[in-house]
């Protein structure tokens, strides 16, 4: 559904999603818009179904254009086929060539005229009614949602909208046949509607975060938007910092004070935070940094997705600086993985980078309610040393984890330091101290038991599809389709990017004859990382592309069929 700003496509699509949720459907809702703050062209990209949805589809069944202002800009993001229907207003002028070329059936719906006939009527409500009727979507939940969102404002606006939806639905009869949505399945678990970025915020709080300092940046802003209102409710603190350098260092200060802390950013901000992450790592003061990846390098394309911050996240710190990097692989998993990341950071006294991405962060999904897991951050607390003994903040323990005091605790005063230090925290330049602390900091990460959470593994087969982040949804759908075609593949989506789990991946790849790596990066950063960090049994094939176009199931499916021959 697209149109220029003010046409109300986003409002209509949001209402549609609310109604779908009400009716028991699953959905995935992403958006694409021009760079204008107000009035720019916008497209609401909705996928609807009766089963859980974690990926965009190959093409859209319906494209509804209220007008064509600037919409050709989205042509590459709005793939159509000859089975698609383009619904447009005859008054909007010529259909852009890219859409004509697709072979889609083009039909006219006089949305503006129909709206005019209703006092207070709006074209977006006509559109909503038409699309609903076309796919056999029930009217009752739509009316209910309209009531919820409009009645409070003005009764006449509600009446006008209901009338608009009705008029649109009636007019849909002239538009011909379309794929039907079908009846929703019974709900066995409660459903949620949430964006990945809000999920990240929620996961952080579930994991124990009570402090956030952050600086606005697209596409991570919604994480701080959520935390700025949610944190105070649970007794936490939110600060908008003056820049990303302040954000990460404020978090480190708060964490030193005993509060689990988080900040959120995107690539440019992560670049600025790197020195702070080194401090967190060396001083063993935990902090969680969410990077909602967007197209890079530099300012890149701020509103679009790419998986190209992997290198900086894993290898960006100067010095030998092993640290945690985790990556969610669905909207729902943004909740879990962030919570787990907080838990790990606190337990291991390490910085943790949560590599989310724009496609996960800014998409809204209707999902099964996530389980409330038990991962709540807890540090190994220090005890005051015996009389006459010195407190060793960086004690060389077997696990590598040294008990950490909370300021205010008598007898455990220490100075946290980014300078290499002795066990007591005193700066040192001696090789023996350096080696001891390097070993200790590495040991605590590699020796930890990460359980089964290091990856999402589904299915069995001769082929393994290794992927991560938002590509996981498309890869999953491709694996399912390939299975239906008789080609069996195993999906492995890495959640724990660093430290690596060579033995675990080795076990998961036992018996696998071919590997396909799926990622959204021009350099193939994930493929290079896999080949550099793991002994893969075979040389992997690579299916990668930079943003902003998402990886779609069809192309992965096609490659799997080729590999399965």
């Amino acid at each position: 559904m697209c149109g220029s700003g003010g046409a109300g496509v986003m409002t209509a699509a949001n209402m549609f999603l609310d109604a779908a949720a009400e009716a028991g459907f699953y959905a995935l809702f992403g958006r694409s818009s021009g760079p204008q703050i107000r009035g720019g062209e916008a497209a609401a990209l909705v996928r609807l179904g009766v089963d859980p949805i974690t990926s965009v589809d190959d093409t859209f069944d319906i494209m509804l254009a209220i007008d064509w202002q600037g919409v050709q800009r989205f042509a590459a993001e709005l793939p159509l086929s000859k089975n698609s229907i383009v619904i447009c207003d005859p008054s909007a002028g010529e259909v852009p060539e890219a859409y004509v070329k697709s072979g889609a059936r083009i039909v006219h719906l006089p949305m503006k005229d129909l709206a005019k006939a209703i006092p207070g009527g709006r074209p977006n409500m006509i559109a909503l009614g038409a699309v609903a009727a076309l796919i056999g979507f029930p009217v009752a939940p739509l009316t209910e949602v309209l009531g919820k969102s409009l009645k409070k404002k003005r009764a006449d606006a509600f009446e006008a909208s209901v009338a608009g939806v009705k008029a649109g639905a009636e007019a849909a009869a002239t538009l011909g046949e379309c794929k039907k949505i079908g009846a929703p399945k019974a709900k066995d678990v409660k459903r949620w509607t949430i964006t990945g970025n809000y999920g990240t915020g929620l996961g952080a709080i579930r994991g124990g975060v009570r402090f956030c300092a952050a600086y606005p940046i697209t596409p991570a802003t919604e994480v701080l938007e959520y935390l700025s209102s949610a944190l105070p409710k649970v007794g936490g603190v939110f600060v908008q910092a003056e820049d990303e350098l302040a954000s990460v260092n404020m978090c480190i200060g708060a964490s030193y004070g005993g509060e689990a802390s988080i900040t959120s950013t995107a690539g440019p901000g992560l670049s600025l935070m790197i020195e702070g992450l080194g401090l967190s790592m060396a001083s063993e003061t935990p902090v969680v940094v969410v990077d909602v990846q967007r197209v890079g390098p530099s300012t890149g394309i701020a509103t679009k997705c790419e998986q190209s911050d992997l290198n900086i996240a894993v290898y960006g710190l100067h010095g030998d600086a092993p640290h945690l990097v985790v990556a969610p692989n669905s909207i729902s998993d943004c909740i879990f993985t962030t919570q787990w990341g907080v838990y790990l950071a606190e337990a291991l006294q390490s910085p943790c980078i949560v590599l989310s991405d724009q496609a996960l962060g800014q998409s809204r999904g209707i999902i099964d309610a996530p389980a409330d897991v038990a991962f709540v951050g807890k540090r190994l607390v220090a005890e005051a040393p015996a009389e006459g003994e010195v407190f060793k903040r960086y004690a060389n323990t077997a696990s590598g984890i040294s008990p950490m005091p909370v300021p205010g605790q008598p007898g455990c005063q220490y100075t946290a330091d980014g300078l290499e230090h002795t066990e007591t925290g005193t700066p040192t330049s001696q090789s023996s101290d350096h080696v001891m602390q390097l070993d200790k900091r590495q040991r605590k990460l590699t020796g930890h038991d990460y359980g089964n959470h290091w990856a999402t593994i589904e299915g069995e087969g001769d082929i393994a599809v290794i992927t991560w982040g938002s590509c996981t949804g498309a890869a999953r759908e491709a694996v399912d389709r390939a299975r239906a075609d008789g080609v069996n593949a195993k999906l492995i989506a890495l959640r724990l990017i660093y430290p690596t789990r060579p033995e675990h991946l080795g076990d998961a790849l036992k018996g696998v004859k071919k590997i396909l790596v799926v990622e959204q990066s021009h350099l193939g950063q994930f493929t290079r990382y896999l080949r550099g960090e793991y002994d893969l049994p075979v040389k992997p094939e690579q299916l990668s592309r930079p943003g902003p176009l998402p990886m779609r199931p069809g192309e992965i499916h096609a490659r799997l069929l080729k590999m399965g021959k």
């Binding site: 300078l419 290499e420 700066p427 330049s429």
Partner: protein, 171 residues
């Protein structure tokens, strides 16, 4: 920065003795800090001289009766009381002679201060006690002068520095 002594605040002989004792103690502490600073910068002869001076001040402090009541928190003529060596008056290459000479200057300033108190204090009891302290400090000045003259006189080019300043790697 010099302050005018606050003669009024020292009212009794005991007040004055407490202050005098505190001055010796703080002086000892400062010499000890200087000794440590010179140890860190590897000028061990001068460090040793400051240690010796600190011990001397410890003995001077012990000459006074133990404090009665609360120790004065501050000294009525300010922190820059004469017997405290100014950390800014030192140089990392200075010789033991310089250290003792610095101590001599401070003893002389202390003597001058107590002389002033003996003249100007509005309290007769304090003037009398200050006069006794003047005798005592006169002895300290003479002892310190003898100690300084026993040190080797530094060469004229003692400040010439063959090495450029070092810096901390890693900060």
């Amino acid at each position: 920065m010099r302050r005018t002594p606050d003669f009024e605040s020292v009212k009794t002989s005991a007040d004055l003795l407490s202050v005098a004792r505190l001055m010796e103690e703080r002086s000892a502490e400062r010499y000890r800090e200087l000794a440590e600073a010179f140890e860190i910068s590897c000028n061990l002869d001068t460090a040793e001289a400051f240690r010796m001076l600190a011990e001397g001040e410890d003995r001077h402090a012990a000459d006074f009766p133990a404090l009665v009541g609360d120790a004065p928190r501050t000294i009525p003529w300010g922190e820059d009381d004469p017997e405290i060596a100014d950390p800014g008056a030192v140089h990392y290459l200075m010789h033991p002679w310089h250290a003792v000479d610095l101590a001599l200057c401070h003893e002389q300033e202390t003597l001058a201060l107590f002389t002033l108190v003996a003249e100007k204090s509005p309290h007769a009891e304090v003037r009398a006690e200050a006069a006794r302290l003047v005798e005592r400090e006169t002895r300290h000045v003479e002892e310190m002068r003898a100690l300084r003259d026993a040190q080797d006189i530094p060469p004229e080019d003692w400040e010439d520095d063959d090495d450029p300043p070092n810096w901390e790697a890693g900060d």
